[in-house]
Amino acid sequence: MNEIDQRLEQLAARARNATAPPPAELPFGLATRAIASARATSDTSALWTQFSLAALPVATVTTAACLWWSASAMSADAHDLAQVFIQTPLFP
């Protein structure tokens, strides 16, 4: 341990022995404020959860519809492409 570390350690040791502040009085209304604030936080998160759960079936149906539409469009495209190949003579 170098000199600076020793000094810092001495300083910390003295700081640990500093007078402990008197026990804090419970501020008036702190419990009420904390409970109200916690309830407000919980209400917001509950509302968000409710919204998310309600939106889940809608999102699922929309995703399924998009997939079905995109798959059918792709198969139609593939059919058209195949027709073009069949009708195009290989050695004109």
């Binding site: 600076i4 000094r7 810092l8 640990r16 026990p23 419970l26 904390a34 409970i35 604030s37 309830r39």
Partner: protein, 195 residues
């Protein structure tokens, strides 16, 4: 008001189950001295203690479902309080450097006593030494400050700090090493600005 471990668990369980306001009030009354003294040890500004204590209890009640009923409430509450203190310092700008002229008369005395290793005189300067230590910690980032504050001012072990902060033991050790190096630089800078 002092609650036994089983009483505090019962109160928290009542809040978890049906948001029992009476149980929550009992918990605030019982744990406020513990939470307030913990915050006071880590936050220099006494005006912030009430706000941070309120935020600690708010978070405790809002996140009650995360509390493991098989464990005592006090360490969980301590962890929330420590995180609130860290967030408090994270929101504040770090003081880039500390100079001799920034110190109060008492802090200058404590610094001189530290530099000259004048033990008998220095022992009478415990409060000033604490204030000086807080000033040096102000030059560090929130995380570094918290780890050194827990280590040097609270005398906590690496394991205890890991439990309180939720960090791994290795991270605590690495952070403490780097933070100590930064504080040493701040101390040297302060010493240089005096001489």
């Amino acid at each position: 008001m002092i609650l036994t471990d089983s009483e505090s668990r019962a109160c928290m369980a009542a809040w978890q189950r049906c948001s029992d306001e009476g149980a929550a009030r009992v918990l605030v009354e019982a744990f406020h001295p513990f939470v307030a003294s913990l915050i006071r040890r880590h936050v220099a500004d006494a005006g912030c203690v009430e706000d941070l204590a309120q935020q600690t209890f708010t978070r405790c009640f809002a996140k009650a479902e995360q509390w493991d009923a098989s464990r005592p409430l006090e360490p969980w509450l301590a962890r929330i309080a420590i995180n609130q203190c860290r967030d408090h310092y994270r929101a504040r700008r770090v003081r880039p450097e500390l100079r001799w002229s920034d110190l109060t008369e008492g802090e200058q005395e404590a610094m001189e006593a530290t530099l000259t290793a004048a033990e008998p005189k220095a022992d009478a300067l415990n409060d000033e030494s604490r204030s000086l230590m807080m000033r040096l910690l102000d030059t560090l980032s929130a995380g570094d400050r918290m780890v050194l504050s827990l280590l040097h001012l609270d005398g906590k072990t690496t394991d205890e700090i890991a439990t309180l902060t939720g960090w791994s033991r290795t991270l605590v050790k690495v952070r403490a090493f780097r933070a100590r190096r930064k504080m040493r630089a701040a101390f040297e800078q302060l010493e240089a600005s005096h001489s």
